[in-house]
């Protein structure tokens, strides 16, 4: 029907499957992400270190061709679990900054403008709404973390051979799992804080506060109480302990691994609980 015919008519066409509705949330939220030049610039910056690593891996394998014969036998880098741990630490830090930019803008405008009622009066559940918003962060952060990590792993595998890849397959699973733990934790933190604060700048600031002040609190508790349990308040410490284990790093581990897993799980569960408390169609005014 032409738009100039101003009469109401019903809709009798087909509908999309129920399960796919969260993808609508993803599609529309993603559209607004890359409007800022600053955001685009920072997103590109996230690929600088992987590119550097890629060059390093390539140069490492081709030293013999690049340098005189005796020097060429030496290795510039040792591409092992520790190498990928450093990669993960750098990229996950950048991913965190990316989340500070993106995360608060996903939920807080909906809450500030009362748009949740409009979403949730449609055949869309609260969980689907959260999954839709979370998927935006998950995909963007994946581009900065495990996707380049796995590319580096496969490049190294192609240069070092099938045997190296089989022998070091735990690195690939470590990169993948380690990245996802970080992505889910900080995404839930970003959404929960922005749902409560409803002001994106404040929510971004609060995210930085939670991450860095958590470390400060942990150190204070550890030194006052002469314990290591204070680390349970420092989610970045807990996750890096898990990374160390996943990537077989031999660094110092002040906390048992089970406690680190428990701490991260409790942190994510608390963020999810706080988020779901706010994702409601109506707020009771008492």
């Amino acid at each position: 029907m032409a738009v100039y015919k101003r009469t109401y008519r019903g809709y009798a066409g087909g509908l999309t499957p129920d399960w796919s509705r969260f993808l609508v949330m993803f599609r529309y939220s993603r559209r607004n992400l890359f409007r800022s030049k600053l955001m685009n610039g920072f997103f590109l910056l996230c690929f600088f270190f992987p590119l550097l690593c890629l060059l390093g891996i390539y140069a490492n394998d081709h030293l013999a061709a690049l340098l005189p014969s005796q020097l060429g036998q030496a290795k510039l880098l040792k591409v092992d679990g520790h190498f990928f741990l450093i990669f993960l630490v750098v990229q996950c830090f950048l991913a965190f900054i990316l989340t500070v930019f993106i995360g608060p803008g996903l939920v807080s405008p909906d809450l500030a403008n009362g748009a949740l009622t409009l979403y949730l009066c449609r055949p869309l559940s609260r969980l689907e709404y959260v999954v839709g918003k979370l998927s935006v962060l998950a995909i963007v952060l994946s581009c900065a973390t495990w996707i380049p990590g796995l590319i580096l792993f496969f490049v190294q595998s192609s240069l070092s051979g099938w045997d190296w890849m089989i022998k070091n397959s735990w690195i690939a699973s470590g990169i993948f799992l380690g990245s996802w733990i970080w992505i889910l934790s900080i995404s839930l933190l970003a959404l929960a804080l922005s749902a409560w604060v409803k002001w994106r700048i404040a929510a971004g600031g609060l995210m930085l506060g939670v991450l860095f002040m958590g470390g400060g609190f942990a150190a204070a508790i550890n030194s006052v109480l002469q314990t290591q349990q204070g680390h349970l308040l420092d989610v970045s410490f807990l996750i890096s302990a898990i990374w160390q284990d996943l990537l077989h790093d031999s660094g110092e581990r002040p906390l048992p691994l089970a406690e680190a897993w428990f701490g991260v799980f409790a942190f994510a569960a608390a963020c999810f609980y706080l988020l779901m408390k706010k994702i409601k169609a109506n707020e009771v005014v008492r």
Partner: protein, 312 residues
């Protein structure tokens, strides 16, 4: 006919506050007005029907679906225009309406087409590429209406649609609601505390007070019934007693009033022309003839009386 909304001893408690108490009702009309003072439970009833609040006891069905178990199916068939500001300020109206249509299940292409149509239909065609944050209050109300009807719902729930609108904008909104009603493709629930809005658009009216239904009336039937109430002012040299007797012999009931006034309830087979005829026969002048009926305001005020126990 299947009821649009069916409430069976519906009670809803929010925290310690009992908001809806044992409501029993069944509505089949095309336009249903939900009236009541602030805090009567109108918005809570709507939120409950949409599945936002859990039912404490009893049950409710919308378009045949159970609210407690099939809220997703209900939401697919319902369009809702909330009372409060609900929009996304950074989005253009057309993207916003399109997204809402897609969330209701329309494929992207049809959603975009219908978003344009809905915006033209409500009168925002020329402003459809403006961001919602730049809209006036009246325009935001119209955008909310557009998102409520874009997916072609079977039932549209309008919560205070004329809130904050100036008189021309209110008229436009009422006209749109009437057009939607007359198009015959959807049922409408209009929740308001503005009696004129409800009177101008609704066939059925439910009045809520302190979480209970205190009055239900079918305005269409009442309008028909009320045409039987006539108030006359008589003058002339003729015999008014004979006039009254002749009118009563036709099956009318009469009650004399002050200043030569006479109230009549016309009999089933009596027409107004019969009264003119008898007046001419009895040489009585009819100076004035009014069709008297209870206005919605009178009905509402009676319902709100302190000792009203639900009967008017």
């Amino acid at each position: 006919m299947q009821p649009v909304i069916e409430l069976n001893s519906l009670s809803v408690q929010l925290g310690k506050h009992q908001v809806l108490r044992e409501i029993n009702s069944s509505f089949t009309g095309r336009t249903i007005g939900l009236l009541g003072p602030n805090g009567a439970g109108k918005s809570t009833l709507i939120s409950t029907l949409l599945g936002f609040w859990p039912i404490t006891s009893g049950s409710a069905r919308v378009l045949g679906y159970d609210v407690a178990r099939e809220s997703k199916q209900i939401r697919a068939l319902v369009g809702y225009m909330p009372e409060n500001d609900s929009f996304i300020s950074g989005m253009t109206a057309v993207s916003f309406i399109c997204m809402m249509a897609e969330l209701s299940g329309l494929p992207a292409e049809q959603a975009l087409e219908r978003a344009h149509e809905a915006l033209f239909y409500v009168g925002l065609g020329e402003a459809r590429y403006r961001t919602l944050g730049t809209y006036s209050l009246g325009m935001k109300q119209l955008a909310k209406l557009a998102q409520a009807i874009v997916h072609g719902p079977k039932l549209v729930i309008l919560d205070e649609p004329t809130n904050g609108l100036d008189p021309p904008a209110r008229q436009r909104m009422i006209r749109l609601v009437r057009e939607m009603r007359d198009a015959g493709e959807m049922h409408i629930v209009l929740c308001s505390h503005l009696l004129r809005d409800v009177e101008e658009t609704c066939e059925e009216v439910v009045i809520l007070k302190q979480g209970r239904v205190v009055h239900y009336s079918n305005l269409e039937n009442e309008r028909k019934l009320n045409k039987k109430f006539v108030e006359l002012e008589l003058h002339g040299n003729g015999n008014t007693d004979n006039f009254v007797a002749a009118v009563e012999s036709l099956g009318c009931e009469s009650a004399p009033g002050a200043l030569n006034r006479l109230k009549l309830i016309l009999g089933d087979n009596t027409e107004v022309s019969d009264i003119y005829r008898i007046a001419a026969e009895q040489n009585v002048q009819l100076r004035r003839m009014n069709f008297r009926r209870d206005t919605l305001e009178e009905i509402f005020l009676k319902a709100m009386e302190p000792n009203n126990n639900g009967r008017i």
